[in-house]
């Protein structure tokens, strides 16, 4: 175990600069604190391509979980097309344990809208849809309020900021399906259809909402854009973790990130850090560490959909590549902490239940497999699991992962597989005495004497 870092890793308030300001969600307060200045700068002194280049320079990566370079995504949008182009803001923050976008939408909606409008200008879109999860009524209210205010002030609608740029912004409320956070399911839902993910290609940048070129980004991603325009992509790229010089394809993890901790900690919450804080620093210095008298057993570093890290693996930097190298992933960077009172079998049952319930039902492996896994975990919890069930689970993980249209199935497999592998002993402990004996015999047969 590494010694606790003596110096507290600092917070960097970029996205969260207005979180503590009273009524920052109103136009007057927001404007006073700089809202729409970047939009005016972009419209007044930059071409759309310059905006895209600035974002490419910043090496900004998508904050929704996959970490795709944002500027690159924008550049896929065809320049020459007769179709209306759309910006679709993915505000369907439905990942368990994740509540970072909510802060942005509730406390600084003008920043979110400004980011959308700059993006619209960059790719030539004339319509922004903000798809907000239906369980966020305050976000919806604040966004609508901000849109109407901005419209009155000339920042939404025709002739934005007096320039020849027209773009409208609309909030669309989701209906509570996890799958509608998947970008193509979101588009289907936006179009009024059942939230079934689409097969890619075509990618949304070419054929998205209403069969037209569409940029879909996470709330936090686009909220970064005004700062990048104001301060330059290079300044943004200086923050965080630089690319690995040994790997020419490495993008690094630039800028700041809203990160959160929930679960078995003293003070759950959301903070903004430059990439580079370790998971342990965040949990211990900011979230107050484990509850009194308990120890941390496992952490899922980003949402629910990433492989779990054990309490011994927390000294990993919060960054896209660092967490991937550690066998997990950044995901939404909102960690879920489980302490020593957590029954990992029940945790698996709970996780599997979530994905079984939220699977859209489209692809065979996910539709049938997620509930199948839940039933098996339930069997373990009831003391009826066997060693062959663990083999069956491994087999199911293999059969489900990468065999479906969208990544929901992968998201189900990753945490479950990592828990089953890292906490096998907890599953064995719930088996019958005969099974436990067989497991012990198999272990001793596998390992030479003297090796623990």
């Amino acid at each position: 175990m590494a010694a606790k870092t003596p110096k507290r890793y600092p917070e960097t308030k970029v996205l969260s600069r207005n979180f503590d300001v009273d009524k920052a969600w109103t136009f007057d307060v927001a404007r006073q604190r700089g809202a729409y200045r970047s939009l005016e700068k972009a419209l007044g002194s930059m071409t759309p391509d310059q905006v895209i280049d600035e974002v490419k320079t910043s090496r900004l990566r998508g904050r929704g979980g996959a970490g795709f370079p944002t500027g690159v995504k924008w550049s896929f949008v065809p320049k020459q097309t007769d179709k209306t182009k759309y910006i679709c803001l993915n505000a369907d923050e439905s990942e368990p344990g994740t509540f970072k976008d909510r802060y942005l939408m509730e406390l600084d909606p003008h920043l979110v809208i400004e980011g959308c409008l700059i993006t619209a200008y960059a790719v030539g879109a004339s319509m922004v849809y903000i798809y907000v999860r239906g369980e966020y009524p305050l976000s919806i209210e604040r966004l609508w309020g901000a849109i109407e205010e901005a419209r009155k002030e000339g920042f939404v609608g025709k002739k934005i900021a007096g320039r020849d740029f027209h773009c409208d912004v609309v909030v669309h409320s989701g209906a509570g399906a996890y799958i509608c956070g998947e970008e193509t399911a979101l588009l289907e839902s936006l179009e009024g259809k059942r939230g079934h993910p689409r097969i890619k290609p075509p990618f949304p940048a070419v054929e998205g909402a209403f069969a037209s070129p569409t940029v879909i980004n996470n709330v936090e991603t686009l909220a970064h854009v005004p700062w990048i325009i104001e301060n330059g992509g290079a300044a943004f790229a200086k923050q965080g973790i630089p690319p690995d010089p040994a790997d020419p394809r490495s993008v690094g993890s630039s800028g700041t990130k809203l990160m959160g901790v929930s679960g078995d900690v003293q003070k759950p919450g959301v903070w903004e850090f430059e990439f580079g804080i370790t998971l342990r620093q965040m949990i211990e210095d900011y979230a107050g560490g484990a509850l009194e008298g308990r120890t941390i057993k496992a952490v899922i570093p980003g949402g629910l959909s990433m492989p779990v890290l054990t309490g011994d693996e927390l000294d990993v930097k919060m960054g896209f590549d660092d967490l991937k190298a550690a066998g997990s992933g950044l995901g939404t960077a909102c960690a879920i902490v489980m302490d020593d009172t957590c029954d990992m079998v029940q945790a698996c049952e709970n996780i599997a239940h979530f994905f079984a319930d939220e699977s859209c039902g489209q692809c065979t492996p996910c539709r049938e497999g997620c509930h199948w896994m839940e039933k098996i975990f339930h069997r373990f919890d009831a003391g009826q699991g066997t060693r062959s069930d663990l083999d069956l689970l491994e087999n199911l993980f293999r059969q489900i992962e990468g065999r479906t249209i969208c990544a929901l199935a992968d998201a189900a497999v990753w945490p479950l597989r990592s828990i089953v592998r890292k906490f096998r002993h907890e599953f064995v402990a719930k088996m019958s005495p005969d099974e436990q004996r067989a497991e012990a015999e198999a272990r001793s047969a596998r390992q030479p004497a003297g090796v623990k």
């Binding site: 097969i199 939220e358 859209c360 039902g361 489209q362 065979t364 539709r367 049938e368 065999r403």
Partner: protein, 514 residues
């Protein structure tokens, strides 16, 4: 991959290069060249859903199998449909499909033509890997009047949903619920607005959608299937007729891109009932002196008919032969000869509806009306023109009761005993569409083969051509008796017919696919 210098791009499947056209998917190229790629949710007429995952193939150079139904061909693409990885991927999918499947094959109507069953034999191990309780879903749900849905058997391929969206554009169906509770639901108030709804029963790769008309009536392997055409209207949709023990049990569309693609209408599909009528005339019947009917052998009946027609000719009443618009070219040809011997002409009558649409159904209901016109037969539209010596009737709606009564005919060939008018003295059984062989000309001028099955109808029905020519011999000793092959030769060369679109000259019917 450098740009290929060959004019046609190729894709490699199982080590062999095959040309493809722009926009082709791997599964299309494979199927075009006879390479088997299993599929459930794929149908060539619809957008790929990519959800069943049974068509997964190995892409050389990729660790993960890909779905062939959505994978676009590009130069340099190399796939294997027969490799270990492809087989493993399919077997995995089968396992997932079967984990909640009820496995009620012994009571399922699809057994015998079920793709789940077929691939299970091919790919499955036959050994259950789990005792996990299966998910319970609704069974025996009515979808409209004709279709029954079983959500447990359903593999959620969405073919039926996409059919109602993309083919008929009527959107009666949708997927409902999520996860392994997903099921097909009706969006309309329990009724189909489309007249093509029962095609979803054929589309369904498993026994989830069954036809209320056919379900529980026979195991498929006891039935005889012949490739034929529907005689419900002049479109002439290609069908497969399934029959058993004297009864027609099912009509299903058979693919013909020039006529009906893969589909047929519900009315045509259910328009076989007259073949199974309880009042079918099974043997010839002759009126005795008292006017009462008595059964006769064909020889006796032919003698009686010849005598009656000779008398009729003597009386100088109209010697016409009035045919059902669904009669074959052969029947019309012989009828024309018979009419000539009686001093009249062959005519036909056929119902004209007003329900034609832009898809398949046409207003002209006479399945061979176009052929009759090509042969120069006049059309009888009302009772005033109906005078005839001989009637040939399969369907009531073509030669309705008023025409029959007004005809004054003395000899009738009828499928149903109830169609014999009072004036008739000799009645012969006439085969339904499922019992007769012959050529029909559809509304587009395409000559198609009607093929009978020995399993349908009464067992002793003799073809009209044979009986009529026997009568002709009695009336006119110099007449040449022609068999069907000789008739066909004449028909193919006949004025008005020679220009039509004939299939190649072979009496062998096409292979039955189902």
């Amino acid at each position: 991959m450098s740009a290929s210098s060959s004019p046609e791009p190729v894709v490699t499947i199982n080590g062999t290069a095959y040309p493809y056209e722009p926009g082709d998917t791997v599964i299309r190229v494979a199927h075009r060249h006879g390479i088997d790629v299993p599929h459930y949710c794929y149908h060539p007429s619809m957008s790929p859903a990519g959800n069943c995952r049974i068509c997964m193939v190995e892409v050389v150079g990729s660790p993960r199998p890909q779905i062939a139904c959505k994978m676009a061909c590009f130069p340099g693409l190399s796939v294997n449909t027969d490799s270990d990885l492809a087989h493993e991927a399919r077997a995995d999918t089968m396992q997932m499909l079967l984990v909640n499947h009820p496995l009620d094959c012994p009571i399922c109507d699809q057994a015998g033509e079920c793709h789940l069953q077929d691939y299970s034999y091919q790919l499955g191990s036959g050994r259950a890997v789990t005792s996990t309780p299966k998910t319970k879903l609704p069974k025996n749900q009515p979808f409209g009047e004709q279709i029954v849905y079983d959500a447990e058997r359903c593999i959620k391929c969405t073919l039926c949903v996409r059919f109602c969206e993309e083919i008929t554009d009527t959107n009666e169906l949708s997927m409902g619920q999520r996860s392994d509770h997903e099921q097909v639901i009706m969006t309309s108030a329990g009724e189909f607005t489309t007249r093509y709804s029962m095609n979803i029963v054929d589309l369904c790769p498993v026994g989830a959608l069954t036809s209320r008309d056919f379900r529980f009536r026979s195991r498929l392997w006891f039935m005889d299937f012949v490739p034929s055409v529907c005689t419900g209207c002049a479109r002439g949709c290609n069908v497969t007729v399934g029959a058993r023990m004297g009864k027609v049990l099912r009509l299903e569309p058979r693919e013909n891109q020039d006529v009906n693609q893969w589909w047929m209408c519900d009315a045509g599909r259910l328009g076989y009932k007259h073949a199974n009528s309880a009042t079918r005339l099974g043997v010839p019947a002759v009126r005795d002196a008292s006017g009462a009917w008595r059964e006769a052998t064909f020889e006796q009946a032919i003698q009686a008919a010849s005598a009656a027609l000779a008398e009729h000719r003597h009386e100088e009443r109209p010697g016409h032969v009035l045919l059902d618009g669904g009669a074959t070219l052969e029947e019309m040809w012989v009828a024309r000869q018979l009419a000539a011997a009686l001093g009249g002409e062959a005519r036909f009558a056929a119902h004209v509806g007003d329900d034609g649409d832009e898809f398949l159904v046409v207003n002209e209901k006479g399945a061979n009306a176009r052929g009759a016109e090509a042969l120069g037969l006049a059309r009888v539209k009302n009772a005033a023109d109906a005078g005839a010596a001989v009637l040939v009737i399969e369907r009531d709606e073509h030669v309705p009761a008023d025409l029959r009564a007004a005809s004054g005919a003395v000899v009738a060939f009828v499928t149903d005993a109830s169609h014999v008018p009072d004036s008739v003295r000799v009645a012969f059984p006439f085969g339904s569409f499922a019992e007769r062989d012959g050529w029909l000309v559809n509304v587009g001028g395409r000559v198609q083969r009607l093929l009978g099955t020995g399993e349908a109808g009464p067992s002793a029905v003799q073809p009209f051509q044979a009986v009529a020519q026997e009568i002709l011999l009695d009336l006119d000793a110099g007449h040449d008796v022609l068999d069907d092959a000789a008739l066909e030769t004449r028909l193919r060369a006949a004025p008005g017919l020679a220009d039509l679109v004939w299939p190649p000259a072979s009496r062998e019917p096409a292979e039955v696919s189902s």
